[in-house]
């Protein structure tokens, strides 16, 4: 019942195509880029208000910051780079001017360059997983990436769809809800958190991985790194340049606050309980 007014970032891509290193981790001779998807989302501890016209929530003046799962995704990409398993990490975000701040945070954490896909105004308000995954798929082809890492879901809309849709559009394998990822030759071993426990899969690159909570603990973006990040490049791109139509197929009819929780009623005996349940039409 809330509207997502998130901005999705797509990080850069791994490029191990044509790599001949069988059974060995890709070294720096293979230009390898890691992808991160970063969501900008409404900060969790702010009291969210429904707009008076009921078309969405109030976002003006509310601090937007990187989605926690995407922070974990960025951290994983940078860890891969530090292990020299990937060559370049590109952080991508879709949205209005403000998302540049979030891209800068990713750059401060260690990403090499950023791509800002400009989506603003009405388009931004209706931007959802389908359009973002189309943008990412187009960028992946353009940048010739080999790995796309995203947060498993945005904490403002909880869609949990973008990663999966990207994989489908590109026809790439996907390792979702990753709590561990290890690069083994040209395959990525992903330990997934599933309802029944942990599932380990091996997927061939290029692939899409979505990060879950226990994958890592993201580092802080320290001030010296924020200052250095100002010198790193952020390229501007429009969805039209990528051949993507951001028109939404969904129309929000109404947004409402959750119903107020009613007080409970204490009963003395089981008969009372049954009586009350009958009264409420539950039995």
């Amino acid at each position: 019942m809330h509207r997502s007014s998130e901005v999705k970032h797509v990080a850069s891509y791994l490029n191990t195509r044509g790599c001949e290193c069988f059974g060995q981790p890709c070294e720096s001779h293979c230009p390898v880029l890691t992808d991160r998807t970063i969501h900008v989302q409404l900060k969790t501890f702010i009291k969210i208000r429904v707009k008076p016209d009921r078309t969405g929530v109030v976002t003006d003046g509310v601090k937007h910051s990187m989605n926690p799962f995407c922070e974990i995704a960025v951290e994983e990409a940078i860890k891969l780079k530090e292990k020299k398993l990937v060559k370049e990490v590109v952080a991508v975000s879709c949205g209005p001017q403000q998302v540049q701040e979030t891209i800068r945070t990713a750059l401060a954490m260690g990403a090499d360059r950023g791509i800002h896909v400009e989506v603003s105004g009405k388009d931004y308000e209706t931007l959802g997983p389908l359009q973002v995954s189309k943008i990412f798929a187009a960028l992946a082809k353009k940048e010739q990436a080999d790995l796309i890492i995203l947060g498993k879901q945005a904490i403002d809309d909880d869609c949990n769809q973008t990663g999966q849709m990207i994989a489908a559009l590109l026809d790439w394998p996907q390792g979702t809800f990753a709590s561990e990822m290890t690069l083994e030759a040209d395959k990525m071993k992903v330990v997934r958190e599933v309802d029944g426990g942990l599932e380990t899969i091996k997927i061939k690159l290029p692939a899409v991985v979505t990060a879950d909570l226990r994958l890592n603990t993201p580092r802080y973006a320290t001030l010296p790194n924020i200052m250095k990040a100002k010198k790193k490049k952020i390229a501007n791109v429009k969805p039209a340049d990528l051949g993507v139509d951001v028109c939404s197929r969904l129309e929000v009819l109404k947004v409402d606050e959750p119903p107020q929780r009613q007080a409970g009623v204490k009963v003395e005996t089981v008969d009372d309980l049954v009586g009350k349940l009958k009264e409420a039409g539950r039995v």
């Binding site: 019942m1 809330h2 900060k43 969790t44 501890f45 702010i46 009291k47 969210i48 208000r49 008076p52 003006d60 003046g61 509310v62 601090k63 910051s65 926690p68 799962f69 879901q153 904490i155 403002d156 809309d157 909880d158 909570l213 226990r214 603990t217 993201p218 580092r219 802080y220 320290t222 001030l223 010296p224 924020i226 200052m227 606050e257 959750p258």
Partner: protein, 620 residues
Amino acid sequence: MIVNLPVPFGKISRRCVGALKAVQAEHVAPQVYSTRSSSSTLPRITTHYTVYPRNKDPRWEGLEMERFADEADVVIVGGGPAGLSAAIRLKQLANQHEKELRVCVVEKASQIGAHTLSGACLEPTALSELIPDWKERGAPLNTPVTEDKFSILTEKYRIPVPILPGLPMNNHGNYLVRLGHFVRWLGEQAEELGVELYPGYAAAEVLFHEDGSVKGIATNDVGIAKDGSPKDVFERGMELHAKVTLFGEGCHGHLAKQLYKQFNLRENCEPQTYAIGLKELWVIDEKKWHPGRAEHSVGWPLNRNTYGGSFLYHLNEGEPLVAVGFVVGLDYTNPYLSPFREFQRWKHHPSVMSTLEGGNRIAYGARALNEGGSQSIPKVTFPGGMLIGCSPGFMNVPKIKGTHTAMKSGMLAAESAFSKITDENLQSETAGLYIPEYEEAFKKSWIWKELYSVRNIRPSFHSYFGLYGGMVYTGIFYWILRGKEPWTLKHNGLDSAQLKPAKDCTPIEYPKPDGKISFDLLSSVALSGTNHEHDQPPHLTLKDDSVPVAQNLAIYDGPEQRFCPAGVYEYVPLETSDGMRLQINAQNCVHCKTCDIKDPSQNINWVVPEGSGGPAYNGM
């Protein structure tokens, strides 16, 4: 008691994040080390390195403590009206004189304006001097004051008091603003001019040259666990060196507190006296909304010897919004007084309820403010640095306005700093520049004239006649003589020394909140959006962990449980034996500074938590 925030959506992922944080917290034992300064039965409360230095702590042995350092021309601590006005003025002068100047502003809030809270009724004098075309540039001054109402309240009635022109409460020409939005706009103007703004980074330490002058500041370290040990993600803050550092931390800044001692800046002035201001934003019934109306009241529910009063401003910002708030002087004597509950109680007055009934509360916050006026202004300049804004304290108390004077002080500091920095023939005695010109400029400016003329109004409340004595004094001496009387009344001394022992006072019976007009503390704190990284040392540090129970609770019945507007301090029974202990819920803190001011034992030292923590005010 961590505030349990209602979450209409994203429940699962929030629980996920919450669960991980709980798991991470499990390994942190709250009572790890045998206490040094507290008795062995009491659990350790304070773990901050300002109380327990890290160079003596075995857990920090061998850790790289070197900091990355960078140079700027001017570093400004605090991105509020004073700091941003100073930054803007510096860049304006630099552009005018075609000089290169690197100006960096560090601000502890996650975004500019997020820690700003004020009524507010803005006098646009300083703004018009700083940015004459503010209207064209879209400054959010949307509500000119059209009506001033002042009243004395009794429990059931309202006695209107005429506001004659010339009285300080006359607001003709002023604007009702959401100061947080105004500060955000100032931040945008500053960035356009090339100021480097760094929100989310708190200045945690003042750095000194060998000769004792100020060298700059260091930002907070990150990644220290609740028990004071380093986490895997530990990183040192960075050092920002400057030719001169401007400190604009707002009322009762924690670095300013150190500087007062270091440079003996308060030797010739009275101690500062404060008040706490609590504020809420309400969306009300359109029929009751009168945009441009500024209402103030004194009297009920406070007794005549407790300074304080209320404000209710009707804002014109699209929806029928009112800013409503209550101020209580922190020189109150009854330890059973709770400023928060006085505020909630006041809203039930018939004249106030008639406005708020049927409305919806959308925001809450609190902040301490200065009441000392000209008698309490310290020396504002010292080698390497200057104090600006509400930090030294330029609030005009009877006008209840401090933003215009804060901005002007920032501008004056900028102007004097600029001429010194760009003076090529300058022979400075100290490595950090000493700029006495700032103090001279401010003494000659309209700030001083204004503050001097109202200097006797606040102290006139200290007589037996309290509120009525003060009003009579204002009516006679201010309105007729405009403060030209030859005497200067004194304040009462430190606010923290004013509390009477609990046994000599009567507890106050506060009504229960009804959930429609008045509310409980925790739901209010939730509305402030405050949060802090939970796994860090509590930033409300105690010099001595045993003092709260031994003195504050024993003599004053624990006044911190009542004066904290965020429920940070709680006295809870000990688990294993009889007696109580103080629990500090540092995550709830809204950075108001009241505890540091009012603690009768002066044992609480507020230090800055990790940057980005604190309230998330939106246009407060």
